[in-house]
Amino acid sequence: MSSTPYNYNYIFKYIIIGDMGVGKSCILHQFTEKKFMANCPHTIGVEFGTRIIEVDDKKIKLQIWDTAGQERFRAVTRSYYRGAAGALMVYDITRRSTYNHLSSWLTDTRNLTNPNTVIFLIGNKSDLESTREVTYEEAEEFAKENGLMFLEASAMTGQNVEEAFLETARRIYQNIQEGRLDLNASESGVQHRPSQPGRTSLTNEAPNNKDQCSC
């Protein structure tokens, strides 16, 4: 445990979603450990990872919830969407079915997150060009139509993995700067850790909303 209160200015919550076997956990592992996990078993329920990055000289701690792609976890992992500032939606460029299911993943994301949640589409396994089933142009078009950011990446070579996480953070940070995110609302997925001491809060309201307990 460190004695300094915080070595970062913000916390952003991310989720990673998409069909089973598209490489969600490998993308996370590549991002947090800078290594490729060769034989990656199916995630059970949900996994978690963090890394501190820098945007605009501000240190940002990413808290990343990596959900299982197996169908039996689909309903229960919806809990984790709530309060996500960023959603990385992953498909596998060598398996068309994982691309075809994107609209259902997108519907879930839109329904369960807030309108400012940044959604980044990742076409993983870009190193496997010879078995490609989804063209770059097609996915780019889908992303444009739905207002998503988009990159093809490879968890194996590491290509564009870093970029996807960082671009998402930059867009979230931009939303904060432009006042689109309410940092006091838990569903924004962003927490601010003021680093300068002596900075005081201006809210005077007493926390008196506890009497509505339904127990």
Binding site: F48, R72, V76
Partner: protein, 154 residues
């Protein structure tokens, strides 16, 4: 690992899957494996020990009757036991899992449980050690007083 174990299921989710469970039970007199699992997955993430225990019971039953899903059940059995600080059972399930499949997710849960259980043991020793010191002090004081009294009496 800590973040995963500290995460608490939203109350509305727990209630939703509880309702689904109760509904099936009422309608058909039995509950599907899928619904049992969803409910147990929420229960072991509850803030209340009784919920977690209930989740563990459901998972134990599922592990017996549904071998196809066993790795999920065993992982969440370890997870639930870790959350109620039942570290010996938590470790037992981790080891059972790792005997069948090498898995980093389970290995980090195992490491976490080991660390917590060592910490608890150290705390217990410190408390016991402290108590021994206090007891020793009282005894010492008693002996000293008694000796003093003896001296004065002589």
């Amino acid at each position: 690992m800590e973040e995963l174990l500290n995460e608490v299921v939203p109350q509305e989710d727990l209630e939703r899957f509880e309702k689904k469970f109760a509904h099936e039970l009422e309608l058909d007199g039995e509950v599907t494996i899928e619904t049992k699992f969803e409910y147990a997955f929420c229960l072991v993430r509850s803030r209340y020990t009784n919920d977690i225990r209930k989740g563990i019971m459901i998972l134990e039953e599922l592990a017996r009757v549904h071998p196809d899903g066993r790795r999920d059940y065993i992982y969440y059995l370890a997870f639930g036991n870790a959350r109620i600080k039942n570290y010996s059972d938590g470790l037992k399930y981790c080891r059972a899992f790792l005997e069948i499949e090498s898995n980093d997710q389970v290995r980090s849960l195992e490491e976490y449980i080991k660390k917590q259980s060592d910490k608890d043991m150290a705390k217990g020793m410190a408390v016991a050690g402290g108590a021994a010191l206090v007891l020793g002090g009282i005894l010492g004081l008693g002996i000293a007083l008694a000796k003093n009294k003896q001296k004065r009496n002589n």
